[in-house]
Amino acid sequence: MIQHLVDGILVGSILSLGAIGLTMAMHMLRFANFSHAELLSIGAYCALVFDGVFKAIYAPLAAAIGPLSLTWALALAIVISMGITGGSAILIDRLVFRRVRAKGGELSMVFASFGVAMIIRNVLGLMFGLQVQLYSKDIVFAVVLSQDPFLLVKPDQIFSLVAALIIMFVFHLVLSRTTFGYSLRAVAENPELAQVSGISLIRMITLIWIIGGGLAAAAGVFYGLTNQVNPVLGRDLLLPIFAATIVGGIGSIYGAALGGFLVGIASNLALLILPSGYSPAMPFLIIIVVLILRPTGLFGEERH
């Protein structure tokens, strides 16, 4: 059980990163963005490309960092990937969502996001092939953290968890200590009041896409690092990320972070009683239960 719990926490940190961006965009732009998880794929592939570029440019960057399979090249590529994915999110908004927003309703936006998701998925498939790709072909053995209870964790998983927690902590500091963070929270809570408080919604939408895209990229790379990279990476994580967002309460940044861990843990603990084939159904179940018992989620409030 402890192993499942730990696995849940490890997966949960990745879901949290994805859910933070989704909850901000969903609340502010008032639509369920089914293409958000594809940003994880963009981030994962972007890092794959730059990892290769950096290794080719400067061979010493191909060295692994300590016991990790993560190389210096990939560490640099993560930063680049976060920036590019944030830029991609803005580009998608400018090319598609902003235009649909100007003419259509929330439902149009939802359908547009389905279309965007399929386009991104297929473009990635065309560009990189449908086969699984790995950041490192080196075999990294799991470390036995404890014999009783027996606990196995890969160093890359610990890195991903720690890195995700650091990113979330930095984001928390920004949200709780800076007026920029207050502005983000204000816009997430009440866009109209934020606007009459002098906050430019257009500028904030841009920043939310950058932040959401950047966090999604980090999540995508961490997922790829601990699992594998393929064009359906985003699709596979879509429901758990949505479940995390709904559990936390749409619009609640802290709720999304906690929701990610709750969904990750619940999905992994479910393996104790359910055959693994039913595991993907767990996020569905969580979404249904939360929507019935507490539609606003753990920390969400009625939209103002």
């Binding site: 007026t179 207050y182 502005s183 929270r185 204000a186 809570e189 009440n190 109209e192 009041l193 934020a194 606007q195 009459v196 408080s197 002098g198 906050i199 430019s200 919604l201 409030e301 103002h304």
Partner: protein, 256 residues
């Protein structure tokens, strides 16, 4: 400087272009005075100040601030122009602390930020005591005071207030309205939408009565308070044939 801080002339506005809520409304708000807008539900009172604030699109007509045209401003530029808008409800950020709410509004104050924050806390001592509490935990009256403090943070010359006494106890409502009155001593122009007609007329300098998206009557608040027809219609009497009676008998002229 113009005698009137805000002038709205022949305003037609609404949420949907084909269905204007304001069909032809004019208003002049004298500098450093309280102008109150009253009228039955659906008259367009709140829509009028939202139109001034740029939250509802004006399809026809003109709004000026000290003589300069500001029709359809960007709502996020209102503070820079010296206009603050206090919505009727949800007028504070509940997830932020009181201090964070004020710091958010003071974010562009630069070196003056600390001094202005201290001045606001001096003006609203109960807020200072609870500055680290979540704003959502405040009582209704305290929330309104925080909303007013947030409006004052941008050093406005005009404050648009939408029913600041809504949902408050009579005592709290009185306190909020009296505070609004006091702001005029600092040179601030107040435009107030109120349902609490008697209280609003007592503190206001000038009053506009709207019905069905049009001006009905306007005049000095004290005159309207003592006007038998207005009293009959809006201060507890019958509301039958309100519009016609008020229009024909009110001594004061509508906006010229």
């Amino acid at each position: 400087m113009s005698k009137f801080a805000i002038e709205a002339r022949d305003i037609v506005a609404g949420y949907v272009p084909e269905l204007p809520i304001l069909k032809d409304v004019s208003l002049k708000a004298e500098t450093a005075k309280v102008t109150v807008i009253i009228g039955p539900n659906g008259a367009g009172k709140s829509t009028l100040i939202k139109a001034i604030a740029g939250l509802v699109k004006v399809s026809s007509g003109r709004v000026t601030l000290n003589g300069s045209d500001i029709t359809n401003p960007q709502p996020d530029q209102m503070g820079a122009m010296g206009i603050a808008y206090v919505p009727q409800s949800n007028n504070i950020f509940r997830s932020l602390t009181i201090r964070q709410n004020l710091e958010l509004l003071l974010r562009n104050a630069g070196a003056e930020r600390a001094a202005r924050l201290a001045a606001l806390f001096e003006q609203f001592p109960p807020l200072a005591e609870k500055q680290h509490q979540k704003a959502g935990a405040l009582s209704g009256g305290q929330r309104q005071f925080l909303a007013v403090a947030m409006a004052l943070a941008v050093k406005p010359s005009v404050i648009l207030m939408d029913e600041p006494s809504a949902g408050l106890s009579p005592k709290a409502a009185q306190e909020v309205l009296e505070h609004a009155r006091k702001l005029t001593e600092q040179g601030v122009t107040i435009i107030l939408v109120e349902q609490n007609v008697k209280q609003a007329l007592r503190l206001a300098d000038h009053c506009y009565i709207l019905a069905d998206g049009r001006n009905q009557v306007d005049g000095p608040a004290q005159d309207l308070l003592s006007d038998p027809v207005v009293a009959q219609i809006y201060l507890g009497g019958k509301r039958i044939a309100a519009t016609a009676a008020a229009t024909t008998t009110a001594a004061t002229a509508t906006t010229s």
